[in-house]
């Protein structure tokens, strides 16, 4: 599925049980396709039931049009092909996890 992605980082998203922030964009070459993913850090320090946190990856998708326009705020927007195939997701997750940094890879 095609979608637009507006490039924005360092917004802290707060929940009652913690908060998370995407702080870095990264690229991964997968079968000659450019995978864009975000690195996020989360602190789960006020959940009702425990304490934790993680460094996680959030895969935006395959880039089909990099910074092809800007939105009203002047932020760059890319055109993205989302990744829904389970096998491809698993493979990409393994590649992202290979450096031992992130504990979870999520998709949209």
């Amino acid at each position: 599925m095609k979608k637009e992605y507006t490039h924005i980082l360092n917004d802290s998203i707060e929940s009652i049980s913690g908060h998370y922030t995407f702080f870095e964009e990264r690229h991964l070459n997968y079968n000659s396709k450019d995978v864009l993913y975000l690195l996020g850090t989360a602190s789960l320090d006020s959940s009702c039931c425990g304490i934790g946190g993680c460094l996680f990856a959030h895969v935006i998708g395959f880039v089909s049009g990099w910074h092809y326009k800007r939105d009203k705020r002047g932020l760059p927007v890319s055109s993205i092909e989302t990744i829904s195939d389970n096998i491809i997701q698993t493979e990409i997750s393994q590649l992202i996890k290979a450096d031992g940094m992130v504990s979870q890879v999520n998709y949209r």
Binding site: S47, C49, G50, I51, G52, G100, S103
Partner: protein, 482 residues
């Protein structure tokens, strides 16, 4: 005829490539380099839990009441005082009227216990003895032992009926040889120089025991199908065999490259891997090494054909593995680095030992109950039947769940629950044959979990209370490995 009636092996799922260790610690002593990989017990495993795992494999197909005695051999007992053989016996749900003993303090403990077990049977004081040998060996970071030492377990059921390899004799040499030792406060081995242990011990005692055995029973090298002994120094292993006059085809693979030195369990683990490939009529010599050497002679019988490929021995476990890609994780698992668990992790409540004693069969043995009226298996132990259409009171009989397989009813991977190896995975499990309970899941990646996944139950360390020196053992679900 007395001898080996059954066998079971166990290798923990985790392997660490020695290159990973060497990349971090190799700068210290470059000469320690060793190829291949070694087994790493998971954070919730120790010599006792792995002994149980190998024993469960060994006892598959046998009534637990068949076992008259249990000998446990290790150099890494979790306790200085507490008989591990009794813990293992309870976990296996053996009857209480059995003889038990722990053999320890030397890597020869496995072969020593084997001789003692055979003697017990020979003396007529037991019809069958279950021998479990297990070790979780640690070497100091940066040492050659760190690269060679490994974790694993082997169990042999010894008896006088249905023998797959008959006992033909032994030859022992015993020396107070100071190649390595540990005192009360040592976590890892101390050792004299490697060259000394190799030249003056390994290269001398093993040939002495094997030659002694050959001449004691008037055997020629050509009579022996396989000679089996630890490859602690792989180069010297080949030299010894050559010097003793054995052809390469008569030498059992010592598994040092793919498994490592599993201490007291080592000679028995490679004996099992030899049995897995043996044929009726084969004569096998197995020798241990540690403060001397015990050489033992077995003769494989026709019965071996019945168990071929049926048992979980060693070979298939070698293939069933998961790469541990972090040396630091390995150090944390073995408590070489102390990690921050947070105040929450420290708030472990006390263990009521009178309760765990009272309910030992239920907790250590994972025995629940089955309703005699409606047949519903249930865990934990119930006096009132959980089946809403039954509800019978005190109509229960004991029912062992540890040897039942099950399927994942539901599961999750939990980022918040405290565990030394997050995420904490747990699952409600429906047992084949009835019964439902929830368990921690171990030796498993969250990504591979799904509803309906088959699991079996594995004896593990549930928690360790450092303040009280208490290890809480219980059972966890694991994906079926073999």
């Amino acid at each position: 005829m007395k001898g080996i009636v059954s066998y079971g092996g166990y290798l923990p799922l985790n392997r660490i490539n020695r290159d990973i260790v060497f990349k971090v610690m190799g700068w210290l002593h470059q000469a320690t380099y060793m190829k291949g990989e070694k087994c790493v017990a998971n954070f919730d495993e120790d010599s006792v839990t792995m002994a149980v795992a190998s024993a469960m494999n060994c006892l598959e197909g046998f009534e637990r009441d068949y076992v008259d005695g249990l000998y446990f051999a290790t150099t890494t007992s979790p306790f200085k005082e507490r008989r591990c053989a009794s813990i293992i016996g309870t976990a296996l749900d053996l009857k209480s009227q059995i003889r038990t003993a722990d053999f320890t303090d030397s890597t020869s403990a496995g072969t020593s216990a084997l001789i003692a077990a055979i003697d017990s049977i020979g003396a007529g004081s037991a019809n069958s003895i279950l021998l479990c040998a297990s070790d979780v060996r640690v070497g100091k970071p940066g040492s050659s032992q760190e690269l060679s030492f490994s974790d694993g377990a082997a169990s042999l059921l010894l008896g006088d009926d249905g023998v797959i390899a008959s006992w033909e004799g032994y030859y022992c040499v015993s020396y107070d040889f100071p190649d390595h030792w540990r005192t009360e406060n040592d976590k890892a081995d101390r050792s004299w120089e490697d060259r000394f242990g190799r030249e003056q011990g390994y290269r001398k005692f093993i040939p002495e025991a094997i030659s002694g055995l050959l001449s004691k029973y008037d055997l020629q090298q050509k009579d022996i199908a396989k000679v089996i002994f630890p490859g602690i120094y792989p180069r010297d292993h080949a030299l010894i065999c050559k010097k003793l006059g054995f052809e390469p085809g008569q030498v059992q693979d010592h598994l040092m490259t793919v498994m490592g030195n599993t201490g007291a369990a080592y000679p028995l683990m490679i004996l099992i891997s030899a049995l897995e490939d043996s044929s009726p009529g084969d004569k096998l010599i197995v020798a241990g090494f540690g403060n001397g050497s015990d050489a033992l002679l077995f003769h494989v019988t026709e019965e071996i054909e019945k168990v071929k490929g049926q048992k979980r021995g060693v070979k298939r476990y070698l293939e069933s593995k998961r790469e541990l890609d972090s040396y630091e994780k390995y150090l944390a698992f073995r408590n070489f680095i102390s990690t921050e668990g947070g105040i929450r992790a420290e708030a472990i409540p006390y263990t009521a030992l009178s309760l765990t004693w009272r309910d030992r069969r239920e907790i250590l043995g994972l025995c629940g109950t089955r309703c005699k009226k409606c047949g519903t298996p249930q865990y934990p132990v119930q006096r009132v039947c959980v089946n809403p259409d039954c509800g019978a009171i005190d109509e229960m009989e004991p029912y062992r769940f540890s040897d039942k397989k099950g399927k994942v009813f539901s599961f999750t991977g939990d980022m918040l629950a405290f565990t030394p190896n997050p995420p904490g995975i747990y699952a409600v499990t429906d047992f084949d044959g009835g019964g439902r309970y929830w368990f921690d899941v171990t030796d498993c990646d969250l990504e591979s979990m799904e509803i309906g996944m088959p699991v079996e139950i594995s004896f593990r360390r549930k928690y360790v209370d450092e303040r009280g020196g208490i290890v809480g053992y219980f059972w966890k679900a694991v994906p079926i490995r073999l």
